[in-house]
């Protein structure tokens, strides 16, 4: 009798497990020729076109489209707007919208829809304050069904580039708006004009997108795309090898040595994109020893970037000499790179008064040891490896580097308060660099602002940044950029390390896996299965 009781107990536990697992929707396992499964480390978010944060950009870009697109070499191409005219003073932009475009719910895309979305975004201006475009908009107007006009306060030159961004200015259908119209709180349903439509979604598990049958452009070759949430990078690689996913696309999803292994093994295709953003260290010109230009320059000369690229990045990233790669607009300035030179670095430190007392490891001045804080996010393994390597490198020239790894918020608090000598930072890549990035250098909450604060010409730099964004003359604009980027380079407030790249690792049955100029989008609509 008693034994029966235990058996019943165990059986009921087992039963409970099965019942509970029945609750989870069974994933449709399709070995369909027209479907693709890939992984992402986070949940795709709410697919709200007007918000950031938990919304993943690639997913927003699958569902929503902009007025204009950012094409090869920064060329602006038509998308939902077929053509546009800019008034001679550069303040009025008139867009002719594409005819025959429908949202995925079958309703028409027209100037009214554009106006509705602009109004929703502008109603929450403070949310978008980082984006100069929003601050510059004076008025918007739907002239007729297919004509839309934006009036700017000034001749803001990156207007088209910023209209091409994934957020916040893409278009949600009227049926997706919440009742109170405030999309900053929530949306009802993600309905866009893009090539994909969300069909099934389990938060933190998977999302299924199907082809948008109303799509105006070249319809995707695949019928269905499933995004699986796999937070762990090793598990991601195993899932690919098991055939549970067909594609890994992006940056930071798998470790670089795993990438190299897969590439060398040759069983899967492995590709690298063109260089995107730049990994840099911001050097604080407003704190301690790094106030001195000579110390900052010594830091620039004291790093063997080639060794870093080979040793830490397995040659999957390119060495960086300047804040922005020369192929970015207005960035080809022939700046003289700081070549690795330990002697020169040592001389500069000596000139700055930091001498190496006999028999000691670190340089001193007035009895003070030359000690610098290098701050990184503790969960970021790449930053950690770089920090440890730099600590060893700088020891060679007599600098004691204290590496401080903290959780994200503490790290960003340091960026904001300027509480660092050296801190990791990254530019934003295409299509934000250089204009959006330099625009943000004027914000006190950014590490850039804090690092530049000790420069005697910081006011001048900020002024020129303001000018360059509304300069209407190509030559003047180039001159302003030359001044801004040249000064920052000479003043050694950035230590560029490498240019990041997107990776794509995929099953050989997949064809047409390409990279777009913007590193935040995944061109799934081009992909097909052989």
């Amino acid at each position: 009798m008693r034994r029966l009781r235990y058996i019943v107990l165990i059986l009921s536990l087992v039963l409970a497990c099965f019942v509970l697992s029945g609750c989870g929707n069974e994933e449709a396992k399709t070995e369909n020729k027209d479907s693709l499964t890939f992984s992402w480390s986070k949940d795709i978010g709410d697919l709200n076109p007007h918000l950031y944060g938990t919304n993943q950009m690639f997913a927003q870009a699958m569902v929503y489209e902009p007025l204009v697109k950012y094409g090869e070499n920064g060329k602006i191409e038509p998308c939902l707007a077929e053509s546009w005219q800019i008034s001679p003073d550069g303040r009025e932009y008139t867009f002719k919208l594409r005819h025959g475009v429908k949202f995925s719910d079958g309703t028409d895309f027209n100037a009214k829809a554009v106006k509705m979305n602009f109004d929703a975004v502008l109603a929450n201006k403070d949310r978008h304050a980082w984006l100069e475009l929003i601050n510059q908009i004076a008025d918007t107007q739907a002239i007729d069904d297919y004509t839309f006009k934006i009036t700017f306060k000034n001749a803001y030159y990156p207007a088209l580039q910023e209209l091409a961004l994934i957020r916040p200015l893409r278009f949600l259908a009227a049926a997706g708006f919440p009742d109170n119209g405030n999309t900053a709180e929530a949306i009802k349903k993600p309905i866009g004009t893009g090539p994909w439509v969300l069909s099934e979604y389990k938060k933190d598990q998977y999302a299924v997108f199907v082809r948008n049958e109303h799509y105006w452009g070249n319809k995707p070759k695949l019928e269905k795309v499933t995004v699986k949430v796999i937070p762990d990078s090793e598990a991601t690689v195993l899932a690919l090898e098991k055939g549970e996913i067909d594609l890994i696309y992006g940056s930071g999803l798998i470790s670089l040595d795993a990438f190299k292994q897969i590439k060398d093994a040759g069983e899967y295709e492995a590709q690298l994109s063109a260089p995107g953003s730049t990994r840099v260290l911001a050097i604080n010109s407003n704190k301690g020893p790094t106030k001195d230009l000579k110390v900052r320059q010594a830091l620039e000369y004291g790093v063997d970037k080639e060794a870093i690229v080979a040793g830490i990045f397995y040659d999957t990233e390119d060495k960086a000499d300047t804040l922005f790669a020369p192929n970015f607009p207005y960035c080809n300035l022939n700046l003289k790179p700081y070549q690795y030179n330990l002697n020169k670095a040592g001389e500069l430190l000596t000139e700055a008064g930091w001498n190496l007392p006999a028999g000691k490891e670190y340089r001193e001045k007035d009895g003070q040891i030359l000690e610098l804080d290098l701050c990184f996010t503790s969960t970021d393994t790449t930053q950690k490896a770089l920090a440890e390597l730099l600590q060893g490198e700088y020891k060679k020239i007599g600098i004691k580097v204290k590496i401080i790894g903290e959780e994200e918020q503490a790290f960003y608090d340091r960026q904001k308060n300027g509480n660092f000598h050296l801190i990791f930072n990254e530019t934003w890549g295409v299509p934000y660099d250089p204009h959006s990035f330099i625009s943000s250098m004027r914000q006190p909450s950014h590490a850039d602002y804090q690092a530049q604060l000790g420069l005697s010409m910081k006011k001048e730099i900020d002024k020129k940044i303001g000018e360059v964004l509304i300069s209407n003359d190509e030559k003047a604009r180039q001159q302003l950029y030359s001044y801004i980027l040249g000064t920052l380079h000479e003043q050694a407030v950035y230590l560029p390390i490498s240019h990041t790249k997107n990776i794509a690792v995929y099953n050989k049955k997949l064809a047409n896996v390409k990279f777009l100029p913007s590193s935040y989008e995944i061109p799934l609509e081009l992909m097909e299965i052989k």
Binding site: R3, I10, L13, V14, A16, C17, F18, L20, S21, C23, G24, N25, E26, E27, L51, Y52, G53, T54, D126, R127, A129, W130, E185, A186, K202, K203, D204, Q205, Y206, K228, V229, I230, P231, D232, E234, A235, L238, A239, E241, K242, E244, E407, E408, Q409, A410, Y412, D413, K416, Q443, S445
Partner: protein, 310 residues
Amino acid sequence: MTRYILKRVIGLIPILFGVSLLTFTLINLVPGDPVQVYLRIAEMLPTPELVAKVRAEMGLDKPIHLRYFDWLTQVIQLDFGKSYISKKPVWDEIIYYFPATIQLTLMAMVLILFISLPVGIFSALYKDSIFDQISRVLSFLGASMPSYWLGILLIYLFSMQLNLLPTQGHGTVLHLILPALTLALGHSSTYTRLLRTSILENLNQYHVLYARARGLRERLVVSRHILKNSLIPIITAFGMSFGHMVAGSVIVESVFSWPGIGRYCVASIFSRDYPVIQAYVLIMAVVFILCNLLVDIVYHLLDPKMMEEL
């Protein structure tokens, strides 16, 4: 019995009150302002006006004792507030993630029973045999192996080499086996050793000797007289383990992409999502206390002497 249970359930209230007060104070002491974290995650520029506005929206502009009082009044009505980050009701989110973790833990408990009971009993009865030696080595290995590595090894063996199970995901019973096994193996090692020691202690008791003297069959001696007494310390630990597994499954959840509450809670800690953290801690406290209660009830069922005390 019913009165006893009722008494214990009422006893929950002051404990939960204490837990909530402690959590509330502690998370407010953690550095990192939730307003700043929110603004960073939402990619908004932290201008002083915006910071003040968001702080008011979150209700963080009030003094801490008032905030606690407000929160308490809400919680009594089973309203855990809204998440700072997702802006959705905390209760809905917890209900979404909780079943997956419970399911994982229950399965792990079953596996622990299936592994540690037979292994523990045999290791004790055949002390110092080859079987005992092997189980000792495996127990030490199992207990000291980090679950992250163990998980990856299991995936490698069962999914990649033997091609039996999926590497990750949630949905079918097949998806459940590997994460539950990962969670179970470490605990099983402890129980195997614990049970073995407990049985060995009981083996030398007089009642066992007398039972044998009475000429009872060995199987009866083991099951009625040794095992039952040996199980008592195990059950205590088992009850606590349940709580530990529910609260500590985050690593397993992330290796196997399991949509459980552990991942959700850790993410909330990093984003200083106070309402979520508070609700989570409170619910975990309830889980621990209920497990404890369950253990006590099982105790009483096993040991009639204790039954009389009620």
